[in-house]
């Protein structure tokens, strides 16, 4: 692989990874719902075995 081709491949891989992470982050911020507020079992204390 020539130096020029290698540079293009590496830049391409980096661009794809960055675009994927950016798209993921945008998707997360738009679609995430707070797990504690949306899951009843997460919003209450665990069963006490004290006593």
């Amino acid at each position: 692989m020539t130096r020029r081709l290698r540079t293009i491949v590496v830049l391409g891989v980096e661009a794809i990874l960055l675009a994927g992470m950016l798209a993921s982050f945008v998707y997360f911020t738009r679609n995430s719902r707070d797990v504690v507020l949306t899951h009843p079992e997460a919003a209450v204390p665990g069963p006490s075995t004290a006593g």
Binding site: V10, F28, V36, A42, G46, P47, T49
Partner: protein, 397 residues
């Protein structure tokens, strides 16, 4: 690299770089075994003469006086639970509302589960093996890095010794993520220095899957590129795009965890959600948090904040001609630590910043008496903290 006029100069290939030193295994093994044996002995003797304090908020009535249980305290119980049962949105017994296992990063419990599955070890025992093996590996990598940077075997040896005896260094042998994290971050830095960029990125990505501050190693990569190439050379990233690969790869571990959280709970940021609702974590500016800890009535928070400020002061030793990118990495992590309103565990969080021990070693190495004094004080304080750890004190979390 820069020619002084800001023009980029092609870096030498890895094959012509000076060969890295081999670790002094006798010294490394001596420090590792000596410190681990001493701390374990102190812990076990403490458990025999002083009954452990009850820990009702952790789901156990009291800690048992066994070797495994000595190193399974506080958050270690969460890691054992994740390794044994996976992540869950159910709040465990004795825990407050909103405290779920998604607060903890996945790499370490995943490794515990994998080792346990292969060998038949319990999750806790697998965690002990992983932590201690990782710590030993981290010491070797840090030794090589310190000698590479300083050109001195004395500095490298002292950096390793300081990390072994620093107060609360027993967390490197506990069922905690610290030792695995130090190994991965130090390894990524070493590979970056050797221009093994893809491998450095893989190590950094694994680091970002093991602790929240793992992603901050990109600060070091970025500043090291800036140091070596100058501003113009750094901006011309297309000339050697491989050097930027670690910066691009490092967040992948974090994103993988976010995707896992999204697919299993519908909340990619489940870690933050449970920290906010369960642990009452809240963001504030670092200067506000530092002032508020000292204005508050909880002595424990003052104690932890003071220790983290002392570690930050120690990181100033990295402000030198070649090592300032390491300081930048430490500073970014300290800012992250101080943006949270909870000061718990700040000493433990700071211990993973391995460059601090290199900086301290650089300063202390020429001064024999001061060096011995620091090692002695570290050893004494570390012994005291081991006693507190063994009895389940809230001052060692």
């Amino acid at each position: 690299m820069s020619d002084g006029a800001g023009l980029a100069v092609a870096p030498p290939p890895a094959s012509v770089l000076p060969r890295l030193a081999t670790p002094d295994w006798r010294l490394i093994l001596g420090c590792f075994i000596g410190s681990r044996l001493w701390l374990t002995l102190v812990g076990l003797v403490t458990l025999m003469v002083m009954p452990p304090q009850p820990a009702p908020n952790l789901g156990v009535a009291s800690y048992a006086a066994t070797l495994t249980d000595l190193y399974v305290r506080w958050d270690a119980l969460w890691y054992v639970s994740i390794a044994e049962h996976g992540y869950s949105t159910i709040v465990p017994p004795f825990q407050g509302a909103g405290t779920i296992s998604y607060a903890f990063y996945p790499l370490y419990p995943l490794a515990m589960w994998a080792l346990g599955s292969v060998t038949g070890l319990s999750a806790a025992a697998a965690g002990l093996v992983i932590s201690n093996a990782s710590f030993l590996g981290a010491l070797a990598v840090i030794y090589v890095l310190a000698e590479h940077w300083s050109g001195s075997r004395a500095v490298a040896g002292l950096a390793v010794a300081l990390l072994c005896v620093v107060p609360q260094s027993f967390v490197f042998s506990a069922v905690y993520t610290e030792s695995l994290f130090v190994l991965l971050t130090a390894l990524s830095v070493l590979l970056f220095e050797r221009r093994r960029y893809a491998l450095a990125g893989v190590a950094a990505a694994l680091g970002s899957a093991s602790r929240s501050n793992g992603i901050f190693i990109v600060v070091y990569f970025g500043l090291a590129i800036l140091r070596d190439r100058g501003l113009l050379g750094a901006l011309r990233f297309w000339r050697e795009p491989e050097a930027y690969m670690p910066i691009v790869l490092a967040p992948l571990g974090l994103f993988a965890f976010w995707w896992f959280c999204m697919l299993t709970t519908g909340d990619a940021f489940a870690q933050k959600s449970t920290m906010v609702h369960g642990w009452q974590w809240a963001f504030d500016w670092p200067w506000n948090n530092i002032v508020n800890q000292y204005r508050g009535t909880d002595f424990r928070f003052k104690y932890f904040m003071t220790l983290s400020l002392m570690m930050f002061a120690a990181s100033l030793t990295l402000l030198r001609r070649r090592s300032w990118p390491l300081f930048g990495y430490c500073l970014a992590c300290f800012i992250l630590f101080w943006t949270g309103n909870l000061a718990n565990s700040l000493l433990r969080y700071s211990l993973v910043l391995f460059p601090i021990f290199y900086g301290l070693a650089l300063v202390l190495a020429p001064h024999v008496i001061v060096r011995r004094l620091v090692l002695a004080v570290f050893g004494l304080c570390g012994t005291l903290l081991m006693v507190l750890w063994a009895i389940g004190s809230i001052f060692v979390t």
